[in-house]
């Protein structure tokens, strides 16, 4: 049972990562580790930047 819950959690994390749902949390974690002492972007600013960046290249196909 415990294993099943752990597996479900892994799948859920995977879904969140693929969809970009936890991108901000991951950014915060990276920021806390790599840029200690500076102020991170807010959730709204981060989402705006991500969206702009994702769509400035070829990211969808035929």
């Amino acid at each position: 049972m415990r294993q099943a819950i752990a597996a479900a959690k892994t799948v859920w994390e995977c879904v969140r990562t693929v969809s970009g749902d936890n991108a901000y949390e991951r950014y915060l974690a990276h920021h806390a580790q790599a840029h200690r002492g500076t102020v991170p972007l807010t959730r709204r600013e981060f989402y705006a930047q991500m969206t702009e960046q994702k769509w400035s290249g070829v990211s969808r196909c035929c």
């Binding site: 970009g20 749902d21 901000y24 974690a29 580790q33 769509w55 290249g57 990211s59 196909c61 035929c62």
Partner: protein, 697 residues
């Protein structure tokens, strides 16, 4: 040892299934044979060929730090678990191409297309995607165009840029045509597709203002609204007053798509494009999974013959013999040059370990190819008579239903007017005759699969769900493609006139968007007014341009492999390149020089001009004839241009290869230097190595 046993077992099953497909000539075959053969062949290719290429040809080295590790910035460069990158990459490469191509190629029977989807992907498309991904990763995520410039020289670079721009224009036009043909005189489809726009905008606001970045939440709400819109479309179609609002012929719908595309290109991405993409990705993954399950549950018998008489080149959907046109038509399901752009875009910046490219590059394309197999099954489980009645333009079989069924039955594929009417009624449409473009016939096939597996009462809802799914998919590509095209135009003009290169300068945005939309809008409009349905002209043109782009990508890869390894290893990309160059060139030459007006562009132009001069055309056709004549000539010159670009790049690659083998100086290229990876063997946890995991510690 275990590996060998697995390989032998897979090979036996694959041989058995392929043998079963090939030998069951006179009796109908079950789709499960094809599914089994496909899965075994993909696994064999992945397990052995892809593993050999990564180890020997590419010398993928997990002790070498990937750009994601070296340049980790928590945003675009992030070491990410390989299954997550696989998901990202598959969502990026999967588009409507593998749904449409196999549907059209089914006119040759199920066998030729199926074989090419399998062989072409395992030996060509998957290899191309994986190697381009690898090469770009070794070069800090450089784009295909940049790699062409660095590794071959400026000529290759410019050819790649122009080739990409042209394919984009043709691609968007043909996809727009598919959507327009699916909406033509269908209030249900039109209202549902129209409803996707306000839904996307609402989700855009939701993700930007209400709940910033809560992607899954927004997506689930949006998908629920989309499903509601399918149901709502049914109410619209039944309502006497509303039906008229959404019941339109092709031309105004095409204008609507053109205006929509222009708006989408100049509006901020968060408003329309980004939310639409979340919805389309969710639907895409969901429908692919559901379709696979439903095909296994239904295990339909394919009613289309293995091979039809149309291999001789007289096919009604498009003219041309099986060689080379089955390869040109399947395009994306087997090899897609376009994937090389994605493989050298965001994906290489996420790879944690070099050997991950096997799963991400090769694996994603294998899955994409499987989508093509499912589309082929959906097309060939229909009665062949029904398939041809839906997919053949009125210009070929006549506008009257009685004429169409007589012609198609005479081909040996019996169908009746009553049968078509009953089917149309079941699907909630007024007619299914001459609904060219592939989307309606695919939707009928998908509705039968879903209906049989999950409940038959809702056929019309399943049909319009499938149409909505295809339309959302396609409109995302239209939006994204127009935007990419806009950047390319800004880049190109910016080299001559600097201010244009500023991507966020509004006059530059307006000028470049208008240019690119005018480009594809022109081809879309001509396709709509063409009495033969337009697809028969545009799809081969798209196929040729897409395969040409694949040739450019494979040329770049071959050039690099020859410089980096020995020439024998370069055969893994040179082999597919030689075949595709042959196929593309033969197809292009036939489209240019054939004297058959159904096949050759110039022959068609002069044939129509002669008929127009002799007054042999009916009034409605005579009115559009001058435009069609001009268009055929333009298509002919475009094909000439594609062929020249193709051989310029191949020539440039051969020049570099010759110099490299002779030991003469060649462009040094831009491969990053070796840096030892600090990440241990396990390729990252699911959060992305170096971010969440280290923060927890």
């Amino acid at each position: 040892m275990g590996r060998k046993v697995l390989g032998v077992v897979l090979a036996v099953i694959a041989a058995f299934a392929v043998g079963g497909i090939a030998l069951q000539r006179d009796e109908p075959i079950n789709a499960l044979w094809i599914v089994t053969a496909a899965v075994c062949i993909y696994l064999l290719g992945y397990r052995f060929y892809a593993a050999w290429i990564t180890a020997k040809v590419l010398s993928a080295d997990d002790t070498r730090a990937s750009p994601a590790e070296r340049l980790n910035n928590g945003r675009d460069f992030v070491p990410t678990h390989r299954w997550v990158v696989f998901g990202h990459h598959f969502a990026a490469i999967a588009g409507p191409g593998p749904l449409v191509g196999p549907t059209l190629a089914a006119q040759f029977g199920y066998l030729p297309g199926t074989l090419w989807i399998l062989v072409g992907s395992v030996l060509g498309g998957c290899v191309q995607d994986m190697i381009v991904l690898f090469l770009s990763m070794r070069r800090d995520g450089r784009s295909l165009g940049q790699m062409a410039r660095d590794e071959l020289g400026p000529i290759g670079g410019i050819a790649a840029l122009i080739g990409t721009l042209m394919i984009m224009v043709i691609l968007i036009a043909v996809l727009g045509l598919v959507v327009v043909n699916a909406m033509k005189h269908s209030p249900w489809a039109t209202s549902t597709v129209a409803a996707t726009i306000p839904i996307a905008i609402f989700i855009g606001f939701y993700l930007r203002r209400l709940r910033p970045g809560r992607v899954l939440e927004g997506t689930v709400i949006g998908v629920a609204l989309l499903v509601l819109s399918v149901w709502g479309g049914g109410l619209v179609a039944q309502s006497e007053s509303l039906r008229g609002v959404f019941d339109h012929p092709g031309a105004p719908l095409a204008m609507a798509v053109i205006v929509y595309g222009w708006c989408a290109a100049i509006l901020p991405v968060w408003l329309l494009l980004a939310p639409r993409d979340y919805l389309s990705t969710f639907l895409k993954l969901g429908v692919v999974a559901l379709l696979a399950i439903a095909i296994v549950i239904m295990h339909p018998v394919l009613k289309m013959p293995a091979i039809t008489q149309f291999v001789d080149g007289t096919g009604p959907l498009f003219t041309g013999k099986i060689f080379p046109f089955v390869f040109i038509t399947i395009a994306c399901g087997a090899v897609s040059g376009f994937h090389a752009l994605v493989s050298s875009g965001t994906t290489p910046k996420l790879i944690t370990k070099e050997t991950d490219v096997r799963l991400v590059g090769y694996g994603s394309m294998a899955l994409e190819s499987f989508v093509g197999i499912m589309a082929m099954i959906a097309a060939t489980l229909l009665d062949p008579g029904v398939y041809f009645a839906i997919n053949t333009g009125a210009g070929v079989v006549g506008a009257a239903a009685a004429d169409a069924v007589r012609t198609i039955s005479d081909w040996g594929f019996p169908v009746t007017v009553e049968q078509m009417q009953a089917l149309a009624k079941e699907m909630g449409e007024s007619t299914l005759f001459a609904r060219t473009g592939g989307a309606p016939s695919l939707a009928v096939g998908m509705a039968s699969i879903f209906g049989t597996s999950f409940g038959r009462g809702l056929m019309s809802v399943w049909y319009h769900f499938a149409i909505m799914f295809e339309a959302v998919f396609i409109l995302t590509t239209v939006d994204a493609g127009t935007r990419v095209g806009r950047f390319m135009v800004q880049d190109l003009i910016g080299q001559v006139w600097k201010p244009m290169a500023r991507t966020s300068w509004y006059p530059s945005i307006l000028i470049s968007s208008t240019l690119i939309v005018a480009g594809w809008g022109y081809f879309l409009y001509i396709g709509v007014i063409d009495p033969n349905g337009g697809i028969n002209i545009l799809w081969p043109l798209f196929g040729i341009s897409n395969q040409m782009l694949a040739c450019i990508a494979l040329s770049v890869a071959t050039g690099i492999l020859i410089k980096k390894t020995n020439w024998k290893y370069a055969l893994v990309t040179f082999g597919p390149l030689a075949w595709l160059a042959l196929v593309t060139t033969v197809a292009a030459l036939q489209k240019i020089f054939s004297a058959d007006p159904k096949l050759g562009f110039f022959a068609a132009a002069s044939d129509m001009a002669a008929k127009l001069a002799a007054g042999a055309l009916p009034a409605d056709r005579a009115a559009v004839a001058p435009q069609l004549i001009f268009n055929q000539q333009l298509d002919g010159w475009l094909t000439v241009f594609f062929t020249v670009v193709l051989w310029v790049v191949i020539g440039d690659m051969l020049r570099v290869a010759y110099r490299s083998v002779r030991g003469l100086p060649v462009p040094q290229g831009s491969e990053a230097l070796y840096v030892r990876s600090q990440l241990n063997g396990a390729a990252g946890d699911l959060h992305g190595v170096g971010t969440a995991s280290e923060a927890r510690a």
